[in-house]
Amino acid sequence: MSVINKAKEKSNYKARIKRSLRRFYAQRWLQLFAILGFVYILIFNYLPMLGIQIAFKSYKPSMGFKGMFTAPLARNYGFYHFISFFKDPNFSIVMRNTVGLSLMKLFFSFPVPILFALALNEMRHIKIKRIVQTVSYLPHFISWVIVYGILFSFLNTSNGVINSLLQSLGKEKMEFLTGKEYYYTIAVISDIWKEMGWWSIIFLAAISGIDQTQYEAAKVDGASRFRCIWSITLPNIKSTIMIVLILAIGSLIRGGMGGSNFDQSYLLGNSLNYERSVTLPYYVYEMGLAQQRFSYATAIGLFQSVISLLLVLISNYVSDKLTGSSLF
């Protein structure tokens, strides 16, 4: 009997394989798209993870590709670079700026696209609505280098627009680009200006999916516009808001939704506002890559990634418990 059962099992198994293959063949073109995407992620996202091991080694560029595997283990059982980073004189200001600036961007930048989407949704004139929407997300396509050029022409002390205006009004010039007291403000405002329109698209898309009969019913009951927004629009896009929030928290170290911490530190940062402008992504570049300390840069980058992962997991869990919405 057992022999017959085994034979039956084997033939069932073969039949299942055949069926799967037939199904696969029937969807071959779709599967090809999926496979291409999978291969892309495998090559550019997973394979490079092999390089993480150099965070625990004393790797030098002259060791080449093989050096990833053959480089000796770093001191302190491989944790030398992590310990060096924690002992670095700039560690506290790097972490303070990264967390502080990112939280400010989250606090100020996150609600703005939502409010903007709500306001756009209330516009009745379709043509103007479209123009405003298009103009609002154009800055997203401008690189931070161009944005810096714009900021420089407005804010520099020699012949900047703002300072020229101040001078003509008899006021003292202000060192916007070098004064450390201005950095956070300029970083947050420029981030909002650049990304607000782009992120509002997601919320507009969510709003457009709301059942219009709810609004009609609310109007019949005498609800005002603000009442409709509060009671219908916001609850219906709550899950979208939570998912975007989880993603933003996951990118907190990089600078939240815009992920602009590195670009702003690199372009707007200088020796005078360094105390406020240096952030973790920039520090990876400055003290790691620019000094050819690949192992050190990888260690800081790994530290950054671990923190981001923890933030995603925690925010996903909290969101799931509080609102029932989660990424996974």
Partner: protein, 525 residues
């Protein structure tokens, strides 16, 4: 018989010496390696002279002439970011030839597994080249493994230094003033830093709308040098303290503090532009070109170049005169510049090169006086003419068309300086460089031992220490200068040096001094 034997011996010796003289290799000898094979060949080349106006070989006069003479062309790639070379090395993707400046880049390439050692290539492909190379250049470039992987450009050896006709680099950092404003102030004497302070203050009272003093981050070291902070071409460089020990240039508190306090005083009184402390050369130039700057720190060469550019502007009144001296502090000349001529750039033949013999032959060509002048001055009678022994450039061709000072793979300092002096001959109004390079020479001391100290290698313990120290220097000094009060400035100084100490400045100083003492003993033998 004895007399006959002696005469015969003397004749043989004379004949031997004569024949040796006949076969002694010179730059014109026919047996030079580069003359033996002029078949066309193209090599890949990477360089980081990002200021070059062209990025292709063969479109300018110089590269066309080099190809005509040697048959060699290059497929050129210019650096797009500072980490590119390290990435190429790590990925095993180096081109066949690399021409770079910068200590970190040189350290990366001077490795037997990555680049061919020139001594081995010369032995194999161009042995006559040994007769043509200055031994001090070889000594300067030889690494601890006994090989040298390049010969550096723009080396200034003792012979150069002793020549009274040769001056310092035309990149010498100087201080320049608006001549018309100085005249309004009565052309005051500026001999001390206090005189400087008084002149800046008077200029501010006269012209409150002007930017009084611009001190850029790059090339803005004039003031610090007045206080004895040594100029250093590489920020890891060493100076010698009173005990004869080598130590890091920026680790000397008793030297750096007076400078920082004085600069802070200038800042607090509105005389030093805060924004200018972050300027690079282009930004400094833009500020000066805007016509509203009274005084700026910059390179000697830029004084003439920027005056020329200002002269071309309609209605411009600005003309800058450079100070032809270093200022004293409390009656004392504190300047402490020591230059050991470590050279500027290096040309490396990587292990990916299939025909290293052709490239080492090219280097032999490049080291010749003819090619030295070609690559730094241009094609004779086309790009320049000789006037009183100096090259005066032909203005009919742009830099992009001439191609000088780009493909200068084995350039010498003396030839470079002659060009600056030649430029000065065209118009006396733009000839300050010619005087400045000689005026500032007496302030420099020459110490070859100091120049032979190697930088701390990246990814070593000392390298990590230096990275932290240099970061502190870059980020804290500007903040100290821009402190709002004198007390804040002094506190910043204390904190800065405390931070240097806790970042193991003593480890880095020991690293520098150990090398210095070893080099001193070796050279004394």
């Amino acid at each position: 018989m004895k007399k006959f034997t002696t005469l015969l011996m003397a004749l043989i010796i004379c004949l031997f010496a004569f024949s040796n003289a006949l076969t002694q290799t010179t730059w014109d000898s026919d047996n030079l390696a580069w003359k033996q094979n002029k078949d066309p060949i193209t090599f890949s080349l990477y360089h980081n002279m990002t200021w070059a106006p062209m990025d292709v070989w063969g479109k300018d006069h110089v590269s066309q002439r080099v190809t005509e003479d040697t048959g060699i062309s290059f497929d050129v790639e210019i650096q797009s970011n500072a980490q590119q070379l390290a990435t190429y090395v790590a990925g095993g993707q180096l081109p066949e030839a690399v021409f770079v400046f910068g200590g970190a880049n040189k350290d990366l390439l001077e490795n037997y597994d990555i680049c061919y050692a020139w001594d081995e290539l010369i032995d194999q492909y161009a042995p006559e080249m040994w007769d043509l190379i200055d031994k001090s250049d070889i000594q300067l470039a030889t690494k601890s493994d006994g090989h040298f992987y390049t010969l550096y450009t723009h080396v200034r050896n003792q012979e150069y230094w002793d020549d009274p006709g040769q001056g310092v680099s035309y990149g010498e950092n100087v201080l320049s003033f608006r001549q018309d404003v100085l005249e309004e102030l009565g052309n005051p004497e500026i001999n001390t830093v206090d005189d400087l302070y008084n002149v800046l203050k008077a200029a501010k009272e006269l012209h409150p709308e002007m930017v009084i003093y611009v001190q850029p981050e790059l090339n803005g070291t004039y003031l610090s040098r007045c206080f004895g902070v040594p100029y250093s071409g590489t920020q890891g460089a060493a100076t010698i303290n009173d005990n004869g020990e080598a130590e890091w240039v920026f680790g000397q508190k008793d030297v750096l503090s007076p400078y920082l306090e004085f600069a802070n005083k200038l800042f607090r009184e509105g005389l030093l532009s805060q924004e200018s402390l972050t300027y690079d050369q282009e930004q400094c130039k833009a500020a000066v070109m805007a016509g509203n700057v009274f005084c700026y720190a910059g390179q000697a060469y830029d004084v003439d170049q920027w005056n020329k550019a200002l002269d071309a502007v309609d209605g411009n009144k600005a003309y800058y005169v450079a100070l032809r001296k270093i200022l004293t502090v409390d009656g004392e000349l504190l300047v402490n510049d020591t230059w050991g001529s470590p050279g500027f750039a290096g040309f490396y033949i990587t292990r990916n090169c299939k025909e290293p013999g052709r490239l080492i032959a090219l280097m032999e060509y490049m080291r010749s006086p003819y090619a030295d002048k070609l690559t730094q001055w241009g094609v004779p009678e086309l790009d320049y003419d000789m006037v009183d022994g100096f090259p005066v450039q032909n203005e009919d061709y742009s830099w992009k068309e001439r191609g000088d000072n780009v493909w200068y793979f084995q350039a010498s300092f003396a030839v470079e300086n002659m060009k600056a002096l030649g430029t000065a001959l065209k118009d006396e109004r733009f000839a300050q460089t010619a005087h400045l390079v000689l005026d500032y020479k007496p302030y420099w001391k020459y110490d070859v031992n100091l120049s032979l100290i190697a930088n701390a290698e990246a990814n070593t313990y000392e390298g990590d220490v230096f990275a932290t120290l240099d970061n502190l220097r870059k980020t804290r000094m500007s903040s100290i200068i821009t402190a709002k009060t004198e007390e804040e400035c002094k506190q910043g100084i204390e904190e800065f040096f405390a931070a240097l100490d806790s970042a193991e400045l003593d480890v880095y100083n020991k690293f520098l001094n150990d090398q210095y003492q070893a080099i001193k003993s070796r050279n004394a033998e």
